[in-house]
């Protein structure tokens, strides 16, 4: 069931089009992440859903209800800002109780629901404290408790993990995900961290310049990107540019051949293939192309090699650490499964299929 629907929504600030003619649907119960570089309109999109900003044009629906011009206070949407925005003059209990008191909930019911929400974020003992007496991660969780305590229809999270250190980030990440699954609440999270987007969401919306670049499951987004931008933004990508020939090779300007798997219905012509670093093997005595190792980056679980091909092109290959190491300057042969090369659909040549 569609819960949020954007129909041709634009939002301009002066001459800046923060959100540009955007159409989008978010299904009920899903965890959606909005991913994109800085300034791509992610926060603006959340603000439009929350009602903090009104669109310059277009229509926003919540279920069957048109909420384009409904004030934020009447939308029943829980929002967590990147800065948490806890009320500094209230203690944790009162912060979480705030939306309930507005809804005329009091007495034992209030106590029970606040306690329940604080327990969910594992802060049951902290009700009497003031926000400044909590750590960043704890404040983050209070903001989360405050956003879910009134049972909103949607939960909106604006880069909720950005201010946390790596360890805490992974912890809260799992926590948010479990909380979302447990409550079954439709959640839209903004992030500019591709790892966060891939690991947490059912669906990823990739924004660029206020427009949707691609929407899909994390798996789709990673393995079947539609554009160069999408391929480069989610993970690292090697771009193989050249002419697609009839036998399933990409032949670049220097005549170097990169084997791929020619999809049915593709014509010959200039294309761009995407090859992920982890799909490249460097341990063969033979291979498709040869090159020299120029850069060795030890990343723990894997080692990333920067290999300069004989024609000067730089290719990245990730090799699991256990499989032996090449040193800088050594010659290697690169090979891969041709089926792992993904041809970007937006480079599909026009013309007669081969």
């Amino acid at each position: 069931m569609t819960l949020v629907r954007f129909s041709n929504v634009s939002k301009s600030y002066g001459s800046v089009r923060a959100v540009d003619d955007l159409s989008l649907e978010v299904s009920s119960g899903e965890f959606t992440t909005i991913l994109g570089p800085s300034g791509s309109g992610k926060t603006t999109m959340l603000s439009l859903i929350a009602g903090i900003a009104t669109p310059t044009s277009g229509r926003i629906q919540l279920g069957e209800r048109d909420i384009t011009h409904v004030p934020a206070a009447q939308r029943n949407i829980g929002l967590v800002f990147q800065s948490y925005a806890l009320f500094p003059h209230m203690n944790i209990f009162d912060n979480v109780a705030f939306p309930l008191r507005i809804r005329k909930i009091g007495g034992a019911e209030l106590e029970r629901r606040v306690a329940e929400a604080l327990r969910l974020v594992r802060l049951a003992e902290y009700g009497r404290r003031k926000p400044h007496q909590l750590s960043g991660g704890q404040q983050q969780r209070v903001a989360l408790a405050r956003a879910i305590v009134f049972k909103p229809d949607i939960l909106l999270l604006d880069e909720p993990l950005a201010a946390l250190d790596r360890k805490l980030r992974e912890e809260v990440r799992t926590e948010i995900r479990e909380l979302q699954r447990g409550l079954g609440i439709t959640t839209i999270m903004v992030t500019h961290d591709q790892e966060e987007a891939l690991s947490m969401s059912d669906r990823v919306v990739l924004l660029s310049g206020g427009k949707v670049e691609q929407i899909g499951s994390p798996d789709e987004m990673y393995h079947r990107p539609m554009t160069r931008f999408a391929a480069g933004f989610l993970g690292t990508a090697n771009f193989l540019e050249g002419k697609l020939n009839g036998t399933g090779d990409i032949v670049d300007a220097n005549g170097q051949r990169f084997p791929c798997y020619k999809p049915a219905g593709w014509a010959s012509g200039e294309v761009c293939g995407v090859l992920r670093p982890e799909d490249i093997r460097t341990d063969g005595a033979e291979g498709f192309v040869s090159g020299t190792v120029r850069d060795v980056v030890f990343l723990g679980e894997i080692v990333r090699y920067g290999v300069d091909l004989d024609d000067g092109r730089r290719v990245h290959a990730n090799i699991s650490g256990a499989r032996g190491r090449h040193s800088e300057g050594s010659k290697v042969w690169l090979s891969w499964d041709p089926a792992r090369v993904w041809l970007l659909p937006d480079t599909k040549p026009q013309g007669e299929p081969l």
């Binding site: 934020a72 206070a73 949407i77 800002f81 925005a85 705030f98 405050r146």
Partner: protein, 292 residues
């Protein structure tokens, strides 16, 4: 012992040495200022205190305090001063808070104009501003002429030479001391707090009273105390706009010293005033520290 720990000890000794050495250069640099401060500020103050607690022979005595406490006249003036200061403070708050709030709501250019007008009053002599009120509120002043022209009154209304005139004049002088800090505090309130409150379902009324107002109350209280303290020492405004009929503490001191040469009673009054002021100042500092 390893080299490293030896080096560490050496460094520790180096660090400790300058602390034990007496810095004569520093003392010499500070001394003139310290002595000047003592001579200019502390000695007169101690002298005043000395006058207040001794009799003619120089023996310790509470006689002037007793005389002060038993005199209805002194007490009445002190009460009146406290009361007028309180009125001025309350009126300043009632006018200043909305004014500061309104300024935060304006766009950049109008806001600069409003704040500029408020700041400008600092540049005009307090004497000029006080006399300006005579032009406005006097019997032949703008307001009275306006009232008579519209036929609301037939005789001029007595605005000046009473408490009303003093309160108007003092409020005018003191308003910037409240408006400027309040404006600064209001502009600092995180807009996202207000937005998040809105998404949580709060009405504008509730957002103002439960979020915005409590966040600005510490500054409001601190500025109000400052205004109150400043009111206690006003001299020119009550002298001019009160026409000598409504003396406040400062005017009374003037009379005691320049007319009656009662230095000892004046000393007692100063001490009382100072105690009140310092206690309030302590509260003011406490509020400022807590919330800034």
């Amino acid at each position: 012992m390893s080299d490293a720990s030896l080096a560490a000890r050496g460094a520790a000794a180096d660090a400790a040495a300058p602390r034990r050495r007496i810095r004569w250069d520093l003392i010499l640099l500070i001394a003139p200022l310290a002595i000047a401060t003592a001579v200019i500020f502390d000695i007169p103050l101690l002298n005043t205190a000395y006058w207040a607690v001794t009799d003619e022979t120089g023996a310790l005595s509470g006689q002037y305090f007793r005389e002060f406490a038993e005199s209805a006249a002194y007490m009445r003036i002190i009460w009146r001063t406290l009361l007028i200061s309180l009125e001025v403070t309350v009126i300043t708050m009632l006018l200043g808070y909305p004014l500061a709030y309104w300024a935060t709501r304006l766009t950049m250019r109008p806001r600069m104009i409003v704040l500029g007008l408020v700041v400008m009053t600092f540049w005009v002599s307090i004497l000029v501003r006080t006399y300006a009120w005579i032009v406005i509120l006097g019997n032949g002043g703008l307001v009275n002429r306006g009232l008579q022209w519209t036929g609301l009154t037939s005789k001029p209304v007595q605005f000046l030479y009473n408490e009303f005139g003093i309160v108007v004049g003092m409020t005018n002088v003191l308003l910037p001391f409240l408006v400027l800090p309040l404006f600064a505090a209001m502009i600092r309130v995180d807009q996202r707090l207000l937005q998040v409150a809105e998404t949580l379902g709060a009405s504008r009324f509730r957002i103002f009273w439960q979020i915005f107002f409590p966040l600005t109350v510490p500054t409001l209280a601190a500025s109000a105390i400052l205004v109150f303290i400043l009111s206690l020492g006003f001299y020119i405004t009550p002298a001019v706009l009160g026409g000598g009929r409504v003396p406040l503490i400062a005017n009374m001191m003037d009379l005691l010293i320049n007319r009656f040469a009662r230095w000892e009673i004046a000393a007692v009054v100063s001490i009382v005033l100072m105690v009140i002021t310092l206690s309030l100042y302590a509260v003011y500092q406490r509020l400022r520290e807590r919330y800034q």
